[in-house]
């Protein structure tokens, strides 16, 4: 419980929210679903800026992309028609593995990306589909890829307003390993492939809960370019991922174990993609 909060403000625009944040960053926290903010104990925080009324809770189709508001909840996103039309069961199934119903009703897309959680399955899945961020900050609106958002020093970090999902015809699969049904992932793995006939044109291999922030395994992606997708591919990806993994140890698992899991989950994800196309 934040012990020293004096003000709880509910701005109605992102601009207003940003201005409030800029007033005193050190003493201000943005509030989305609240599942992290409610656990904070920091005595520095004096102002809570609630984003609930800023109208960021919708998912809309734009000409070449879908824009999902940062305040869209995980459950809302996985149940959304536009998302289902675009991605089939990918998000319905993957997000279904996150937390539990109550938590999914609360946790938001923006609130999941912004705190840079290593274990966020949401971030891994969004990176897998190549999502970028529309943010509002001192340079007005700006589109950034998820990685670049964190390059901005935290003292200047903008507000995430939308998650931009590109219109692309790729194949996706997501796997996670956890110690029990309701646990954060020991490791998660999202794989996307763009295929021309059987040829791998491009891919995204995203590994999260390493336990560090999800990252793309670019060297693996490069090695796959122009390969023909066949029965061998899952095994190839498995060993490439095994050789190129970088991760760490924490109380949940050792890095050796994670290395192993990464390669196995990658193989399974590629097999799943194979089931769709072969």
């Amino acid at each position: 419980m934040l012990p020293n909060v004096k003000e709880f403000i509910r701005p109605e625009t992102v601009q207003e929210a940003y201005a409030l944040l800029e007033k005193n960053r050190k003493a201000t926290v943005l509030l989305a679903g609240g599942t992290i903010v409610s656990q904070m104990r920091s005595s520095n925080i004096e102002t809570i800026v609630d984003l609930r009324k800023t109208g960021l809770d919708k998912i809309v189709q734009k000409p070449d992309e879908i824009a999902a508001g940062a305040m869209v909840t995980a459950e809302q996103f996985r149940q959304d028609r536009l998302i289902a039309d675009r991605y089939g069961d990918f998000f319905y199934d993957s997000f279904g593995l996150i937390g539990n119903w109550q938590l999914r009703n609360m946790i938001t897309l923006g609130g999941s990306i912004a705190p840079r959680l290593g274990w966020s399955d949401i971030t891994t899945c969004l990176m897998t589909v190549g999502a970028s961020l529309l943010v509002y900050g001192q340079d007005d609106y700006q589109t950034l890829c998820i990685g670049d958002y964190f390059q901005i020093p935290s003292s200047e970090r903008p507000i995430i307003t939308h998650i931009i999902l590109p219109d692309e015809d790729w194949r996706y699969a997501f796997y996670r390993f956890a110690r029990s049904a309701f646990d954060i992932a020991t490791l998660n793995m999202g794989i996307a492939m763009k295929l021309n006939d059987r040829r791998i044109v491009s891919s995204r291999i995203v590994c999260g809960s390493r336990p560090m922030f999800p990252a793309r395994m670019e060297s693996v992606e490069e090695s796959l370019v122009d390969l023909n997708f066949d029965e061998q591919t899952p095994g190839i990806v498995r060993s490439l991922v095994y050789d190129n993994f970088s991760g760490g140890s924490n109380m949940i698992a050792s890095s050796e174990y994670r290395n192993h899991l990464a390669s196995v989950l990658a193989e399974r994800a590629v097999k799943k993609i194979g089931e769709i196309i072969l």
């Binding site: 012990p3 909060v5 409610s38 656990q39 809570i48 609630d50 609930r52 937390g99 119903w101 109550q102």
Partner: protein, 156 residues
């Protein structure tokens, strides 16, 4: 600050602290069925329905509940008469210590609103967050199924 919340159909205008949690506000208002347990958003004993959706009241800032509708188990049933879900839980022996039961009943209510005839695996998936340390969950699954039959009128 002051907020207005509607709990079980009753409007309350309450003074709250800026960083107060809905769990604390509700308990202060006398809704003692909302239980504190885990301090880490991971047991669901504090589940209430907020605009019909099950949420953890330990993570909801009371200020964000301003103008919204909250339901707790105190709002179920009428007088001596139990709500069919409560009746099913009682009859199936689904509660031992009872601490998790109000939240479980509310989550069940929300589940049966979206899925009136859930399968066993749907029941497990949707209620997975509701931790119970006493029962082993089996009687609760039977209770949810029975409640669904009561509500659909398949069983008296």
């Amino acid at each position: 600050m002051k907020i207005t919340i509607n709990v079980n159909g009753k409007t309350h205008v309450v003074k709250i602290e800026s960083a107060e949690m809905l769990l604390d506000t509700l308990r202060r208002l006398g809704y003692k069925s909302v239980h504190r347990s885990c301090d880490s958003a991971s047991c669901s004993s504090c589940t209430v329905l907020l605009d019909g959706n099950p949420v953890l009241s330990c993570c909801v800032f009371s200020a964000t509940a301003d103008g919204r509708f909250v339901e707790t188990v105190e709002g179920l049933g009428s007088g001596e008469e139990l709500h069919p879900i409560q009746k099913a839980f009682l009859e199936e022996g689904a509660s031992q210590c009872g601490y998790c039961i109000p939240s479980l009943i509310m989550t069940t209510k929300a589940l049966l609103a979206v899925e009136p005839d859930p399968t066993e695996s749907e029941i497990r998936e949707m209620l997975v967050g509701n931790i119970c340390r006493c029962t082993g969950y089996e009687a609760q699954t039977r209770a949810v199924k029975k409640a669904s039959r009561y509500l659909r009128g398949d069983e008296e």
